[in-house]
């Protein structure tokens, strides 16, 4: 199947048109997931309450019963559990990389192997995060290197 993304006219709204003989279950569930996905996030930093754009989040980390969203340089607390964020953003480009962290794949500059079977993700803001052995496979699946069972 070919994927064509066109820019709309300046005053037109965004529209997704699927042109196919019979849309399969995978395609329908993808579209439904996109339409129903709740991607709004509220971040808390000192006295400020900020609406966060999930695409700008580098990673989420759980620390001492709190969950934080890491931007390029700012860190916001979010009132979600890590597994809830995984459910919300898992279908997007976020992937669990350890028990306490979910990373945005779009923010990974490159990966390098470590001697312990773990991987090190070098992020675009210069930070490094560790991808645990048991989560390497899910990253491979997300990248289309391994297939979902």
């Amino acid at each position: 199947m070919r994927i064509i993304i066109e820019s709309p006219q300046p005053d037109d709204e965004d529209v997704v048109i699927v042109r196919c003989a019979s849309p399969d279950q995978r395609l329908i569930s993808m579209l439904l997931a996109y339409q129903t996905a709740k991607t709004e996030l509220t971040g808390y930093l000192d006295d400020r309450i900020v609406r966060l754009n999930y695409q700008d989040v580098f990673y989420f980390e759980a620390n001492e019963n709190k969950v934080f969203a890491y931007y390029h340089s700012d860190v916001y607390e979010v009132k979600y559990k890590l597994y809830e964020l995984e459910e919300l953003f898992g279908p997007l480009d976020f992937v669990r990389c350890s028990k306490s962290m979910i990373v945005n794949m779009e923010k990974i500059e490159y990966l390098s192997p470590l001697f312990s079977g773990k991987l090190e993700a070098h992020l675009k803001n210069g930070e490094k995060v560790i991808i645990s052995r048991q989560y390497v496979r899910s990253l491979k699946v997300k990248l289309g290197i391994e297939e979902v069972e």
Binding site: N53, D56, S73, I108, L111, F115, G117, R133, K140, I145
Partner: protein, 149 residues
């Protein structure tokens, strides 16, 4: 999780057994000793016994680098003790200061060999993953937003 463990266990079994075979071949060639066929089964058994704690200990999701190092040291000591025990049990040699030192170097060799093989495999996989990351995100580069929307 169980599947990941079993795959990891099988990989370590193959790597450790190969390394023990190389170490045994070097030792037998240098010492000029003759080998009995039973030693092959003993090598396979030693690979199996040492692969088990290796897969179990190294699948822990260590959060900090310090804990990682502690885990590696504990693992090394466990493997070293098991190897000494097996050497005595199989009658390969009696426990003397010389045999302990030689065993130490043999375990270090097997350790480095296994780590190196795993590193090479992981390096190959990360190259593939980096290509996928590049293919997926190089076209959609956007300017970084540093603050919450």
């Amino acid at each position: 999780m169980v599947k990941e463990f079993l795959i990891s266990f099988l990989h370590y079994f193959v790597d450790i057994t190969t390394a023990v075979l190389i170490a045994a071949a070097i030792f037998l060639t240098v010492s000029g000793q003759q080998m009995e066929s039973i030693i092959l089964w003993e090598i396979l058994l030693s690979g199996l016994i040492t692969a088990l704690p290796t897969a179990a200990l190294l699948c822990f999701d260590s959060k900090s680098a310090k804990l990682s190092w502690v885990l590696w040291i504990v693992h090394f000591l466990v493997i070293f003790s098991i190897t000494l025990l097996m050497l005595n049990l199989f009658g390969w040699c009696s426990i003397t200061p010389k045999s302990v030192i030689l065993t130490f170097f043999a375990v270090v060799f097997i350790y480095l060999f296994t780590c190196f093989v795993h590193y090479l495999v992981d390096k190959k996989h990360t190259t593939l993953m980096n290509q996928q990351l590049k293919k997926r995100y190089s076209n959609g580069e956007k300017p970084e937003e540093h603050k919450g929307a």
